[in-house]
Subunit: 239 residues, 2 copies
DNA sequence: CGCACGGTTGACCTGTATCAAGCCGGGTGG
DNA sequence: CCACCCGGCTTGATACAGGTCAACCGTGCG
């Protein structure tokens, strides 16, 4: 087999529109193909990087599903996000050249490794890429604002509703169903992300089922009444 | 008076080491002086920008104190941060060219207005600036992780302790006392930031006073036993 | 002087945590 | 192929941190 066929190339990657700028000239696209040095497979349960490790690259998820988390000295873990295909990981490492969170694969995954010095170098020459990098970081900041809103100002039901809507929204953008999904994380990980204990997550799922909003069969969910979830997210406090 | 004396210049700004790269050549420093188009004064209570407004610039705080917040449709406000001299605001606007949060001055303030297209242009030529911008955004992401940890996994006392240590840490970096500080925000704003109600914030302050950890006289605080606060948090303070 | 606003404190309530028991489904080994 | 086990999940009973409601206080300003 021709070794060329193994060449990593963004230009023919079907996730390109998710992780790369859209309006590139053919010449720029060619150069961007060089961004991805290698690919890396990560087995379910293994970590892509962990806190304290040196930072050198950003990672674009080609397939699979990750969680990122930070940990307190006493062992308390806070899940800071769940990442899926087309999303970029590793931004936390830029500021101090050390990763500050852990990234663990929740299912077998493959990522494109993009050395950050290469990204910076190419960004200086391709302004569309430069702006794209800025947007990715800004998007992450804005996402975290909404997590802060969830954690600081919402009740358990509202947090879970917001979480489910966010997941389906992102899955739908990747061609999956709007109403059916498979959770890749445990109830405990959902709880950590939402600032809730596992029992509360479970009870809230059950409540949604009782109300006919959701069908739950282990990790398989079907959203029967997305409108009800949506109302919960921006509902007045005493409903 | 010579109009030159009014020229905005980072090169002779005493906050430069806080908001600009440290190791610039004289030539690069010259160019960076052009980044700041204008300065803008913001009166206490006024907003620097608000959600929905178009994005065009980042802002470096020269003096004063700000809060940033996001708001739910039903009016619930979540304070996402407090910003002081030398810190950069406006990063939330990059992703969609619209601001998604409000920035309100908690005391009369002055900011340096840095048009973002200029920042990008100059970043392409001065790699130290480019990397600095990346670091600022990454730092904000990491900061928000620790807020998520606070909101998701800490109890009221721990949150307030973490908040106070973070504030004094940043104030100390600006030459202020490690143990005495003046709160520029209300108890309600602290509560919003920490995901607590005003009564809980007040009670927790009182508890710290009872325990001899803190002296509180309205907005004036004196930290008597920083070690006790540190133990409560048992985590390194980032940012 | 008196009002208004931010803050404190007390009494009580409730949403979520905690503790505990049991269930379910998938994997393993006999 | 079944029995068992184990990890993830659910459910119930109870506890408690923090929320809610309400009264009051202190300071600063008109």
């Amino acid at each position: 087999m021709n070794p060329q066929s193994f060449k990593v190339a963004c230009s023919n990657c079907n996730l390109r529109e998710l992780c790369m700028p859209v309006d590139l000239s053919a010449a720029d696209l060619d150069r961007i193909d060089d961004l991805v040095g290698t690919r890396r497979k990560v087995k379910r349960g293994d970590s892509l990087y962990h806190h304290g490790a040196g930072f050198s690259s950003l990672y674009a998820i080609r397939s699979g599903f990750f969680k990122t988390s930070v940990t307190l000295e006493d062992g308390r873990e806070q899940v800071t996000g769940f990442q899926m295909a087309g999303e970029i990981m590793g931004l936390d490492g830029i500021v101090s050249d050390l990763h500050t969170c852990d990234a663990v694969a929740l299912e077998n995954a493959e990522v494109c490794v993009m050395p950050f010095d290469k990204i910076e170098e190419l960004s200086r020459e391709v302004s569309a890429l430069q702006h794209h990098v800025h947007k990715i970081m800004s998007r992450e900041i804005v996402r975290e604002h909404s997590v802060m809103m969830m954690l600081g100002s919402m009740r358990a039901e509202e947090r879970l509703a917001a979480f489910l809507l966010n997941l389906t929204h992102r899955l739908h953008a990747r061609g999956f169903s709007r109403s059916e999904l498979v959770l890749r994380m445990t109830r405990e990980e959902i709880g950590s992300y939402l600032g809730l204990k596992i029992e509360t997550v479970s009870r809230t799922f059950s409540k949604f089922v009782d109300e006919g909003v959701l069908e739950v069969k282990q990790k398989n969910l079907r959203i029967l009444r997305p409108d009800t979830l949506q109302q919960l997210v921006n509902a007045p406090i005493n409903c």
